[in-house]
């Protein structure tokens, strides 16, 4: 079995969740790599949209910021920021959004704003950016994150973006057009919402255990009755990632 780093594992598993034809609202870093990997494997018709207003980018180099000029040159369309959020995201033209944050709680709510009290922050984080709307309006959301106890509290300090709130029913009653988080891809396995919207462990990566997952989760993590095991990264996936997509290992080096 091939050797791989944790970011490679995350990226490959995120890529596999994408479907051909998906319109993806994507940031830089691992989500960008995951989309490009999916495009080169099972999802050649995937469309990448960036919050900077870029549709159908064809970057000639690895983009280093959400507004990298390489995303613009050769793109299919570029529009303003109001339009990208309104015509694309709010209107319902986005299938998939990627989210991240400092804390993800039991019901998939995310905190990217503040640790401690909002008015007297212990640690001030970057804030929502586009994530409040992505979480609400993209048809499906995926979260890519290292699996650490401090990142998975029972309840987030600040709800920057909505998962299932306190229960799937609460999200449904809010009439949000998007379906909420569909999977959290970690370096231990994959968490997915159950019928109540609670994140439970549905898959383990090779050589990882249920105990690894439980020990690194801040709530009493439940395990799916039909727990699955992810296929290890293939040589092909790793080759594309390493040779084509991030040859300088800017995002793929291990040790995050």
């Amino acid at each position: 079995m091939a050797e791989y780093t944790s970011p490679e594992l995350l990226t490959i598993n995120a890529a596999r969740l994408l479907r051909d034809g998906d319109v993806v609202f994507v940031g830089v870093g691992l989500p960008n790599l995951a989309c490009n990997l999916a495009r080169r494997t099972h999802a050649p018709n995937l469309v990448m949209i960036y919050e900077a207003g870029i549709i159908g980018a064809q970057p000639a180099r690895l983009p280093l910021s959400i507004g990298d000029p390489t995303l613009v040159s050769g793109a299919l369309s570029v529009c303003g920021m109001y339009d990208i959020f309104a015509l694309y995201l709010q209107r319902g033209n986005v299938d998939v959004g990627f989210l991240g944050g400092a804390q993800i709680d039991r019901f998939g709510n995310i905190n990217a704003t503040v640790i401690g009290e909002y008015d007297h922050p212990k640690v001030r984080l970057p804030g929502s950016g586009g994530s409040m709307e992505i979480a609400a309006w993209a048809n499906r959301c995926y979260i890519i994150t290292p699996h650490q106890k401090r990142r998975f509290p029972e309840k987030v300090d600040f709800r920057t973006s909505a998962g299932f709130l306190s229960h799937r029913k609460e999200r449904e009653e809010a009439h949000l057009r998007g379906g909420g988080p569909q999977a959290v891809v970690t370096d231990i396995g994959i968490l997915q919402p159950d019928t109540n919207g609670e994140l439970i462990l549905t898959a383990l990566h090779p050589n990882k255990t249920v105990e690894d997952a439980k020990a690194n989760t801040g709530w009493g993590l439940r395990i799916a009755s039909n727990l699955e095991f992810t296929e290890p990264p293939t040589e092909r996936e790793l080759t594309i990632l390493r040779d084509e997509l991030d040859p300088q290992r800017i995002y793929l080096k291990g040790g995050e």
Binding site: G53, L64, V78, S128, G130, W137
Partner: protein
């Protein structure tokens, strides 16, 4: 009467202590030269609004120009934290007002279109609306469902960097256009900085490219390389190395002070700054051309 000024004249004339400033540009076209000139002219008590404060506001906050920031994403794009703004907020030295990106840009959209507010569909996240009382709700009179609203943002001054404009300020922008148009229309005063001042006929050859009409522009400043370390599509690349370097510089106040002394207070204007950056940087940021296909408007 000509509206063409040097950048230092324009800042002196149109930016006052206490003003609400919107230096536009989402990653692209950020008018760093204008931020540096505001620092050199030692403006105080400014309210600095931008979706992403970026390094430009980190530097202006470090220089003591601001009493408040309004933002929706406070990071060093592609690098990590925005250390100065973050530290000042954590220390309780800086007021702040916070939105999501769509909330922020909806405020500008309302300002630009002359509406008192803009509606947005609910996101149900709740906490940002709880801590920021400028978020309100109205009831959709058709469905009875709540809609979230934010009030118009009308900056005292918008600073907008563009690729080219004519001597009247009719401005063309391509690449990421972000909130350039909205900021200009929302603001009371508009300062346009430009890579090139071109003949009116260049503008008139492609009117669909003109996002900002000259008659809403108060000052036009010819400032090549205005956006460095941000970039101007087709003119020069983003200086990613500097974004990484700032992450180091901004780790302590001494190095920040040294940076400002050398690169802001220590130079007269953008031209001196650009020359000081030197050949290696110039060459590294050079861009080879990739031209648009022409379109035919027809002679009628």
């Amino acid at each position: 009467m000509s509206k063409v000024y040097s950048l230092s004249e324009a800042i002196a004339k149109f930016v006052k202590d206490g003003d609400l400033i919107y230096a536009a540009g989402f990653t692209h076209l950020i008018p760093f030269a204008a931020g540096h000139e505001i620092i050199r002219q030692r403006r105080r008590d400014l309210i600095l609004a931008r979706a992403t404060p970026d390094l430009i506001y980190d530097q202006m906050v470090a220089a003591g120009c601001a009493r408040k920031v309004i933002f929706s994403y406070m990071g060093n794009p592609g690098v990590g934290s925005l250390r100065i703004v973050r530290a000042e907020i954590e220390a309780g030295n800086l007021e702040w007002e916070e939105y999501s990106h769509f909330g922020m840009i909806s405020r500008l959209q309302a300002g630009a279109t002359g509406l008192p507010f803009m509606p947005m569909n609910p996101t149900a996240a709740g906490d940002l609306e709880r801590v920021n009382s400028k978020y309100r709700q109205v009831i959709d009179p058709y469905s009875g469902e709540p809609v979230v609203v934010v009030p118009a943002l009308k900056p005292d001054v918008a600073i907008v960097h563009v690729q080219r404009c004519d001597a009247d300020g009719n401005s063309q922008i391509w690449g990421i256009i972000g909130e350039q148009k909205e900021a200009a229309f929302a603001a009371e005063k508009v300062i346009v900085t430009t890579e090139e001042i071109v003949d009116e006929n260049v503008i008139r050859s492609d009117p669909n490219r003109t996002l900002i009409p000259g008659f809403i522009v108060d000052a036009i400043c010819h400032v090549p390389y205005c956006a460095h370390p941000s970039y101007t599509q087709g003119y020069y690349d983003r200086d990613n190395a500097f974004y990484l370097q700032w992450d180091e510089i901004s780790k302590n106040r001494e190095s920040v002070k040294n940076y400002l002394d050398e690169w802001v207070y220590g130079v007269r204007d953008r031209q001196e700054y650009w020359e000081k950056l030197g050949e290696e940087v110039h060459n590294r940021l050079k861009v080879t051309p990739r031209l648009s296909e022409v379109v035919n408007y027809g002679s009628y």
